[in-house]
Symmetry: C2
Subunit: 245 residues, 2 copies
């Protein structure tokens, strides 16, 4: 299964990734990769905040507006933690976010919701996919970064209201299910396409996942398995909504 | 100075307002007034959140967008606390907010910023005025409600970045000062006008401030003095921006 030199541990999750923050950051390439990772996550969070609040202005009721706004506020909280961590690492957060403007902005430009149900599904899919990815990536970073990443997962669950709302809409008119399933597939496809773009452009970040000669990481097959796991939990979430993934 | 029966204590702040929550809520009129107060504040906060995030999409830089979004997120935090308190009191928060849709929406409709500097000044004036009003009102409510209201003041200070930004704009082009001073006056005038509308329409809320026969409150002269104090601190804030109030 492994395509990498035997010097690193090819299993997932890797053993060496449990290294203390101090020893991990002694490697300049690791520092670059973590700044890249945190910068990418930070820009994704501030963008999610912005799009969710924009979408929330179109809510049919104040209750639903508040529900979406509460997801947005949680994303902003994540952004603040990631930004503060970048500052602690001596990095300029706005510089660290810069390389991710293009892919994240492109994702949102290609997935502008055309109605309230599409907004809800985008919020739900995005929230779930982000949480899954955070959980996956946590295994490949130092202890301090891992704690930061796992802490952002503590305040999830804001998206649960979406399930009731979407299921009810499908009960009322079963024909919407097909259109919404298509929409969810487009969201997932666009997310993967922008993730590939990032992987192709950001060598340090990719090296963090695939590992270096002296640092364990996922091999390419393991990255493939990670994408499979992300797709599987996406399918479970879609089923919860009453949609085929 | 007092125009009220001597049975209540006309001084400000009133002594009797320190009553425990349990004894205060034994009075149904007091409960109605507090639900009205919290409902009005909650709707003001969720609206502030919505307008600030809308304005933040027009920020000239990501740094300034984040600064305004961080004020918005703080307002959302205030909203959540007020909403949770309404639920604790056995009240439906959305019903409690309903009577305040018209005045708060009218305030925002009449004060849509026409540029980034106007957005910044609206955020700064609104944030300051809200904090001052929270401090004033805290003296007239039961201990539990007071703690809630004072807790929302702990996370202010988000607006400080506005001062540098506006002063710099005035340094760059002193002609903007006149236009911005006019804008700040319009904001203050519109806020007072909607506050008067609320006072005229919401008897229970007004009674909380002016007091009932068996409950101390502010007399009308004291309310006048409160408005004077709000105007004074507004003038100080305007001076900090380099603007004449």
């Amino acid at each position: 299964m492994t395509e990498k030199p035997a010097v690193s541990d090819p299993g997932d999750p890797p053993v060496g990734a449990s290294a203390s923050a101090a020893s991990a950051f002694a490697d300049p390439a690791y520092r670059v990769a973590i700044v890249d990772l945190l910068g990418g996550l930070a820009y994704s969070e501030i963008s999610a905040f912005e799009r969710l609040t924009e979408d929330s202005t179109k809510a049919p009721t104040l209750q639903e507006k508040v529900a979406l706004a509460s997801m947005a506020a949680a994303e902003f909280g994540h952004f603040e933690r990631l930004r503060d961590r970048l500052v602690d690492l001596g990095s300029d957060p706005f510089e660290a976010m810069q390389p991710f403007h293009a892919p994240v902005d492109a994702f949102h430009a290609h997935t502008a919701p055309s109605g309230w149900l599409e907004s809800l599904i985008k919020a739900y899919v995005g929230d779930g996919l982000a949480a899954d990815f955070y959980r996956e990536i946590a295994a490949y970073v130092d202890v301090d970064t891992r704690e930061l990443i796992l802490a952002t997962l503590d305040d999830t669950g804001h998206a649960e209201f979406v399930v009731d709302r979407v299921r009810k809409a499908i009960d009322d008119d079963p024909r919407v299910a097909g259109r919404l399933a298509l929409w969810a597939r487009r969201l997932m496809g666009e997310a993967l396409s922008q993730a590939q773009r990032v992987a192709a452009e950001r060598d340090a970040l990719t090296a963090l996942l695939v590992g270096g000669v002296d640092r364990p990481g996922m091999d390419l097959a393991a990255i493939g398995r990670m994408f499979s796991r992300l797709a599987e939990t996406h399918t479970v979430r879609m089923a919860a909504l009453g949609l085929q993934a």
